[in-house]
Amino acid sequence: MKSRFPIVIVAICFLSIALSSCKSCSKDKDNLGEELVIPDSLKWDTPLPMGKPIIDELMQNISSPIETAALIKGLKIPFNKDYMASTKQEESFNTSFDKALALGIYGCDLGYLNMYEKTSFVVDYISVIKRFADDIQVGQFFDFETLKRLATNKENLDSLILISQQSFNRIDSYLRETNRSTLSAVIVAGLWVEGTYLTSRVAQTSNHPRIRETIGEQKTILGFLLPLLKAYSNDPNMSKLITQLEPLKNLFDNVKITYELGEPEMIEVNGELTFIQKDKQLVDMDDVTYKEIISGIQTLRNSLIKL
């Protein structure tokens, strides 16, 4: 037994080398010709349920500032600094709940600034966001120095959007991993309120039908946001926020959204594949409801930033 020991050691060494090089065995087997078997778990007859875990997951992109800003810019509507929350309001946010809400509000404004490449204002907004993020112990995920450099030097503006967006995604993930999902939900609420507020301000100066439809389809988004927030309603601050959102929900009850289903079209051009959805979304609301929703979202947002 004693004399075999060195052999065992040598064998272990060879085994470790074999294991370390084994990954090359598993590379690049080209199975493109084989057909995909659709897993049984993908086949079902009833609509997918939208329970709390699903809504929790949805929270991650309930309201993207990039999409809101891209819509507004895409309609050739000029930038307006007055639409954004002033950074001078920073002192109004004192508790962790308030600061998370502010993180969402100013985060949305940052998306609006980035989309319009208004880098001269960006440093002010990222400074405020960084302070709020630090105060709720997520500042390490907000890459302030890189964002500041990109904005100051007007370097690669795509990177400015990328890093801003990634910072918010990391903050969201971290809060949820550390059982602080309440704050994550509040950030999402702030993003939604500010995004809808920006759209409502645009709606007052533009009669573009897409803006009107965007306001109306917030009924769908609020339909996901409210149940998410209600999951944390044992927090008194959250309960108060829900109470503030309820009148808006009641206004959206007067908005009728219907759908006509169609089969998506698949087009391949130069090797690039595009699927075009053929469903139609029809949003119907009367002028009174439209004006009341615009007024309601502006009143709510201004009260949240304590104007």
Binding site: I12, I54, F224, K278
Partner: protein
């Protein structure tokens, strides 16, 4: 002598495994690769997918909200450290709307575009072909408004 040999063996094994892990692709690297494949589309979100081998193939399901009049790009990247090749499918309730792997042609696409005409909740399904184990990243990005 016995102790020295044992120490050498432990160090050797440690070095071998460290070297292996150093070469392994991290999820962050995959996100960067996906970003390059997505091109000029604006990053919105990334999804990290790691599934074990299985029959039927395991599936990771992720709900997302997509907005009307937005052209989205879905990009997928496989880790070279696993055999599995990822397939992304977009579902709306029980309808498959888009996929990175078209069974009819047998073609695999690193990215697909989706022109959305209905604001609402959708589901992304990630699985690995033939139920092999895999690690992959999916990227959602915004191409533009329609």
């Amino acid at each position: 002598m016995k102790r020295i040999l044992l120490a050498i063996a432990i160090i050797w094994v440690g070095i071998a495994f460290t070297a292996r892990n150093a070469n392994a692709q991290s999820e962050e690297e995959l996100v960067q690769i996906c970003g390059m494949i997505a091109g000029e589309a604006q990053y919105l979100k990334d999804f990290r997918v790691k599934l074990d081998a299985g029959d039927p193939p395991p599936v990771q399901r992720i709900p997302i909200l997509l907005k009307k009049d937005v052209k989205y790009r879905f990009t997928v990247c496989n880790s070279k450290d696993f055999e599995g090749k990822v397939v992304l499918q977009l579902f709306d309730n029980n309808r498959m709307l888009a996929t990175t792997y078209v069974i009819g042609t047998g073609k695999d696409y690193p990215s697909i575009d989706w022109v959305c005409t209905k604001t609402g909740a959708y589901h992304l399904f990630f699985s690995f072909r033939d139920g092999k184990a895999g690690l992959a990243v999916g990227l959602l990005s915004l191409v533009g408004m329609m």
